[in-house]
């Protein structure tokens, strides 16, 4: 008998530490373990800061980053920048995701639209968001318009692509079952095709959220007078690495939170896809 092929019984052969950790993963739930990791990195970072081997101006210590954050909060720029950036990301994402889903449904279901647009859209996909910024500024100026455009464009392509492919992989047996059960085309679409494609659509939307932040900062780095990306650029001019670090960490946290929210909503809506 091929004993090695059997799944290892949980815990039995693991060393004690691993056992405790894996138990933690199950009971301490999703929050506990990341915290351990963050505390570890923060500890290391503090040690580097304390040792003084790296110049503060190049690699600021955690407490310098913290006071830079407090400083930006006190003078109010952090709140305005956050509001601006989040607003742009939200509007751009909203437009891009909506159009992306609609276009994906169209190219997924209507052969004419697919023939006319798919090759073109696929050609657009490899163009990086950053490369679009100059064009966007010429078209929409350095105001909000160019930011919305860059973000929604990037989100649109990703969401479209995933939606389109989700529509292609609707299992044939579902469609056959629906047809033998007397479903009209409309009901088949709404209650079979759409739910079957939903996991892919949500995967696209989740990617879209990440790309919204990415492309937003790209757009704000050049040609903006507010927002996190603009503030990063400004910090570079004054060589304020402490502010840069603060803004980068904030971006990371925002992105992670947005991803959590979308993931959670997706899990609620596509509840049948687990395991």
């Amino acid at each position: 008998m091929a004993v090695t092929d059997l799944p290892r019984p949980p815990n039995a052969t693991l060393p004690r530490v691993a056992r405790v950790l894996s138990q933690g993963a199950r009971t301490g739930a999703t929050l506990g373990l990341p915290l351990i990791s963050f505390a570890f990195v923060l500890g290391l970072w503090s040690l580097v800061g304390l040792s003084g081997v790296v110049k503060e101006a190049i690699f600021p210590a955690p407490w310098s980053v913290w006071s830079a954050t407090v400083e930006m909060w006190r003078n109010g720029t952090l709140q305005t920048d956050l509001a601006k950036s989040l607003g742009r990301a939200a509007v751009g994402f909203g437009i891009g995701a909506t159009l992306g889903v609609m276009m994906g449904l169209l190219t997924g279901r209507v052969a004419v639209v697919r023939t006319l647009l798919n090759p073109f859209l696929n050609l657009l996909r490899p163009i990086p968001a950053i490369a679009l910024v100059p064009v966007a500024i010429v078209w929409f100026g350095i105001g909000e318009g160019s930011k919305y455009f860059v973000v929604s464009y990037t989100v649109f392509l990703t969401v479209w692509f995933n939606t389109h492919h989700g529509m292609q992989y609707v299992p044939e047996t579902y469609l056959r079952a629906a047809r033998t059960l007397g479903a009209s085309k409309l009901r088949e679409f709404a209650t079979v095709v759409l739910p079957a494609a939903a996991p892919h659509i949500f995967a696209g939307i989740r990617l879209g959220v990440a790309l919204a932040f990415l492309s937003l900062v790209a757009a704000e780095l050049s040609g903006a007078s507010s927002g996190i990306g603009f503030r990063l650029q400004e910090a570079r001019q004054y060589v304020r690495t402490d502010r840069m670090f603060s803004l980068l960490i904030i971006l990371g946290i925002l992105g992670a939170l947005a991803d959590l929210v979308v993931h959670w909503i997706g899990k609620k809506l596509v509840h049948w896809e687990q395991g």
């Binding site: 079952a177 047809r179 033998t180 007397g182 479903a183 049948w272």
Partner: protein, 265 residues
């Protein structure tokens, strides 16, 4: 003279049907010229070697596949595509995972435009018939294989199809569950009196369930032997007489020509 309508409910005519698929290596014939009639309310099993075209024939009657030649008719009308008159039970259940058992059954009832109350009542009654009333609000992922297939049976029968096609419906189930499903299926079939075409690899299953057993040849398949079984149901190979056992040996011989060859050598 007009044909009697009560007699023609669920009469499937397979008239000189040939089915071909275009593949990479040219056209393959999946089903050789076949003619046959499934009489209303009868239970026919189709048995044959893998790849001989059983699913292909079934898919054609379901309207999923169009024959290259010949015609398929249901009660005299040509079969042009899937329709609720021809129900299908798939081996992999094909339940919608985003609907509860109850809503899976309701899906088929929507076409009748019933009131919500009536629709739910009928769906519940259908689940009750397969013994799953208590599981109406569970999702397919929460049900065992046998339970899933019972929901699928309830969903299909609730629509009252004239013809029921089943492609190895119990192939994925264990022997014990399969026996339970046989009783259940025969009970419901007797009540609804649909014309059943049942594909199986299991000779015993075919003998226990059917009025007619059709044996197919190696690919490209055609019908090569027909048995009409009249033994009382519920049957058991041990007590339904020697005739079933003899037929069983014959079918096994047809399915495994090599052993026949060994006899003649």
């Amino acid at each position: 003279m007009m044909t009697d309508t009560t007699q023609s409910r669920g009469r499937v005519e397979i008239d000189d049907v040939v089915i071909r698929f275009k593949g990479k290596q040219g056209t393959v014939t999946a089903l050789e010229r076949t003619s046959h009639v499934l009489e209303p309310g009868t239970f026919t099993s189709l048995i044959g070697p893998s790849g001989c075209g059983k699913s292909t024939l079934m898919n054609a009657i379901a309207g999923f596949v169009t024959p290259a030649e010949g015609a398929l008719r249901l009660d005299g009308k040509p079969i042009t595509g899937p329709s609720p008159e021809v129900g299908v039970i798939f081996q992999q259940y094909a339940l919608f995972p985003w609907f509860t058992a109850l809503n899976n059954v309701r899906f088929g009832l929507k076409q009748f435009g019933l009131s919500k109350r009536e629709e739910i009542d009928r769906a519940r009654a259908a689940l009750d018939e397969v013994g799953l009333a208590a599981h109406a609000d569970k999702y397919p992922q929460q049900l065992s294989g046998g339970m899933k297939q019972r929901v699928a049976i309830a969903r299909t029968f609730a629509v009252e199809p004239k013809v029921l096609l089943m492609d190895e419906p119990f192939g994925a189930l264990d022997a014990q569950t399969r026996l339970v499903m046989h009783d259940l299926l025969l009970g419901i079939w007797r009540k609804h009196k649909a014309t059943v075409l049942f594909v199986t690899h299991d000779v015993d299953e075919a003998l226990l369930l059917s009025d007619h057993v059709q044996v197919m040849s190696q690919a490209p398949g055609r019908l090569i032997r027909h048995y009409h079984l009249t033994q009382e149901r519920p049957r058991a190979l041990s007590r339904s007489g020697n005739e079933l056992l003899e037929i069983r040996d014959e079918i096994l011989g047809l399915l495994h020509p090599k052993t026949m060859l060994a006899d003649t050598l």
